[in-house]
């Protein structure tokens, strides 16, 4: 009997299959053999657990830092190992035993069983997130099992077999193994070779026809060979290389903040069987958008916890993806709970615009907002946006020498400042404002009933989360509810705040751009302006936009835009096109939570890397990347149907992402020229 070393997984499996007939029993090592860990050092998983215990200790009034918890755990575990060494050959420790002692020490209490259960669940959850089954080896294990061979999983680790079974089940092959054995239960480990006689006795195994497979030349090679069974040792060069790379990223990230985001991504990456060929859109969602959205969501969570914000409303429709990301990422980041409630709120600029006028009337600023999109031109566009009946204003318009089609936008020919002055005079007319309030009253009432239903007024402080850009949804929302006594303080978090029109911030209603905010000079962040539609499409919910709120005898109804017209169909087509991108984002969400929790970093740490990502993917993208991810159709009901005269091609292509493929490919220094133009524009702002 002896053992053979194999330098790749495939050569080991090939040799194993060749000899399989000789064996009736196969025992597999678990870690670094059947499963690998995403990180190079298994101890890294202990730090988030220490943070969890530290957070819980603060809540229970026994404040202790995560570092001290970690030190305590190490000390107690070492002591347990030394004590075990007095009676056994192996210096093993058992997780429930030493962790109970750690918790007793931290919380100064003898009854910590409930807490131990929570801590254990979180540690196992983090382990589950970090382990990846080796697809080829698991496939062979399943083959052996189906051939009627007895298959066992044996591990030298502090986690007892009951915990290992949970990990093996998560890895997806518990049904193919007869039992899972851990050294933590018996303190008889493979390292001393004592585990093998134990197995022989417990399961009545014969040394003949017994093969052991593992990665440690001593525990999995020499010891079984000494015991008299065959062994195969995996000495995988590729796996060593992967770990060396991961180790560099994690170590560099400690000293160089630039690498923190890259280290995060290294831990989020799919390995082994997870790493399948995927469409370009999926890859961009997973490797480009997901980390940035993750940083955005994590920042909101931190702000809400620190600011005692008790409910977050993710605003339709981009909030849909943010909310789903939150649901997947937060269990790893906040195992201790303490997070605000979350809710998806059906709103839109069009739906809230009318409701915002029910109590304050149509303000000068809101009338001005209607003319920000170049497609809007006259009073009919104001009526369309604020849900007003244009014909009912005929006499008022005549009073101010205006017509329904009088040009009121400076972007269109025929504009006369005198008409703008006349409009502003009309806005001060009480008759006009009374008519506006009368017409928008029912929609406002329906909206308030909906908001009451979702508990908007049940909290003192709420957050609203949206993609961007001007903050008009939040502006209209606040104006529609601010008259109520129970109106909560509203904290707005936008992915990007372009602030094309000044936002009226006050202590009860403020707004922050997280990834980009025009109020902060952030050159890399400003590249989101290159492809705003991309972020909207990537996050958009798969339901049509909300047109408004309708008052009904029973309460209210949400009125969605039709989907059977040309625009509706185009939008459906667009949703299908972007489905892989959104799937990539959501698939990465859980991994973001686990990876970020393991690293213990936040958005500020990741920002240098996100800046690089945005610069390279938005301002200096490859032509192939633009071709595969830029949008085809983008619906904006706020925008009217009027055409603005443009001057030549230059006016048509205002952003790199609008240029035709041949220009992107062959125009010399196009990206650099456009970036310098972008740079000038930002400085001029």
């Amino acid at each position: 009997m002896g053992f053979e070393k194999y330098y790749s997984l495939l050569s080991l499996i090939k040799a194993g299959k060749r000899q399989a007939d000789r064996f009736d029993v196969v025992t597999f090592d678990l870690f670094d053999t059947l499963v690998i860990r995403r990180m190079h050092d298994p101890d890294l998983v202990k730090m988030p657990v220490a943070r969890f215990i530290a957070a819980r200790s603060v809540r229970n009034g026994h404040s202790i830092s995560a570092e001290k918890v970690q030190q305590l755990r190490d000390d107690i575990e070492s002591r347990h190992r030394a004590e075990t060494g007095l009676h056994f050959d192996d210096h093993e420790a058992c997780y429930p035993q030493f962790m109970t002692e750690v918790l007793q020490e931290v919380f100064q209490s003898s009854d910590v069983s409930a807490l131990l259960e929570e801590v254990t669940q979180y540690e196992l959850f983090m382990e589950q997130q970090m382990i990846v089954p080796r697809a080829e080896l698991v496939k062979w294990l399943r083959e052996l099992s189906s051939q009627g061979k007895r298959v066992f999983v044996v591990s030298d680790i502090y986690l007892p077999a009951a915990h290992l079974r949970i990990l093996v089940e998560k890895a997806g092959f518990l049904d193919a193994v007869e039992d899972v054995i851990s050294s933590a239960d018996s303190f008889l480990a493979k390292a001393s070779g004592k585990a093998f006689p134990l197995l022989q006795e417990r399961y009545a195994l014969s040394k003949d026809g017994w093969l052991h497979v593992g990665d440690n030349p001593i525990s999995d090679g020499l010891r079984p060979a000494e015991f008299g069974i065959d062994a195969m040792v995996l000495h995988d060069a590729s796996e060593k290389r992967r770990k060396a790379i991961t180790k560099r990223y994690l170590n560099y990230s400690k000293g160089l903040p630039f690498w923190r985001g890259r280290a995060l991504q290294q831990l989020m990456l799919p390995y082994e069987g997870e790493n399948e060929r995927k469409p370009d859109l999926y890859r961009e969602g997973h490797a480009f958008l997901a980390p940035i959205i993750g940083g955005f969501i994590q920042h909101i969570a931190e702000k809400c916890v620190a600011g005692n914000i008790t409910k977050i409303f993710f605003l339709a429709r981009e909030g849909y993806t943010f909310k789903r990301f939150w649901e997947r990422a937060m269990p790893a980041l906040y195992p201790d709970g303490g997070l605000p409630e979350i809710e998806y709120l059906y709103v839109s600029r069009m739906a809230l615009a009318g409701a915002s006028c029910a109590h304050q009337g149509l303000t000068k600023v809101n009338a001005h907002i209607a003319f920000l999109p170049p497609g809007n031109r006259d009073f009919r566009d104001i009526c369309r946006i604020y849900k007003l009946d244009c014909d009912k204003f005929q006499s008022l318009l005549s009073r101010y020498n205006l017509e329904k089609d009088t040009c009121l936008s400076a972007m269109h020919p025929g504009y006369d400042p005198a008409h703008q002055m006349a409009l502003e005079s009309m806005l001060t007319d009480c008759d006009f404002q009374e008519e506006v309030k009368r017409q928008t009253g029912p929609a406002s009432e329906a909206m308030l009933r909906y908001f009451e239903d979702v508990g908007f007024f049940d909290h003192k402080q709420v957050a609203v989360v949206d993609i961007g850009w001007l903050g008009t949804i939040q502006r209209f929302l606040y104006e529609a509810v601010s008259h109520r006594q129970d109106c909560p303080r509203i904290f707005g978090f936008l992915f990007g705040a372009t602030r094309g029109i000044p936002y009226p911030s006050n202590p009860d209603n403020n707004l922050e751009g997280v990834i980009y905010d025009k109020h902060r000079f952030d050159l890399a962040g400003s590249t989101v302006l290159y492809a705003r539609d991309l972020f909207e499409e990537a996050c958009r919910a798969p339901h049509p936009t909300l047109n408004g709120y309708t008052l009904t005898p029973e309460g209210y109804e949400l009125e969605f835009r039709q989907v059977d017209d040309t625009i509706g169909k185009a939008e459906l087509e667009q949703d299908e096109y972007y489905a892989p991108l959104q799937q990539g984002v959501l698939d990465a969400a859980e991994r973001y939570g686990a990876a970020s929790s393991l690293l213990g970093y936040s958005l500020d740490d990741y920002k240098p890397w996100f800046n690089y990502l945005m610069i390279s993917k938005l301002a200096f993208p490859k032509t192939r990347e633009i071709a595969s991810i830029r949008h085809k159709h983008h619906l904006d009901d706020f925008q009217g149907q009027h055409k603005v005269p443009t001057a030549g091609r230059a006016a048509r292509w205002t952003s790199l992402w609008q240029y035709p493929i041949y220009r992107l490919r062959f125009s010399p220094l196009l990206r650099l020229r456009l970036f310098i133009r972008h740079l000038h524009e930002r400085i001029r702002e």
Partner: protein
Amino acid sequence: MKRILNNNFDLTGSEVFRISRTYILSRFIPLGNFNSGPNLRCLFTLAVLHYFSRPIFWIMVRQEQLVTRSYNTMKQIVQSRR
């Protein structure tokens, strides 16, 4: 259709060479705040690990004792010079 993690354990679409190119460009025109930046030595090490280390690890796993001995000797020399 490509894999997110390429055969060299690098991130498809944000490979270490692309990072290097962007970093070099950032030395000439302001691209934004990269904080510390990636550091040339780190970039070099990562480029070697990602793209040229396959034969190194091939030898390393086969001659582990020799490699470990050589590494320790080198480490001692470097430390003694400090």
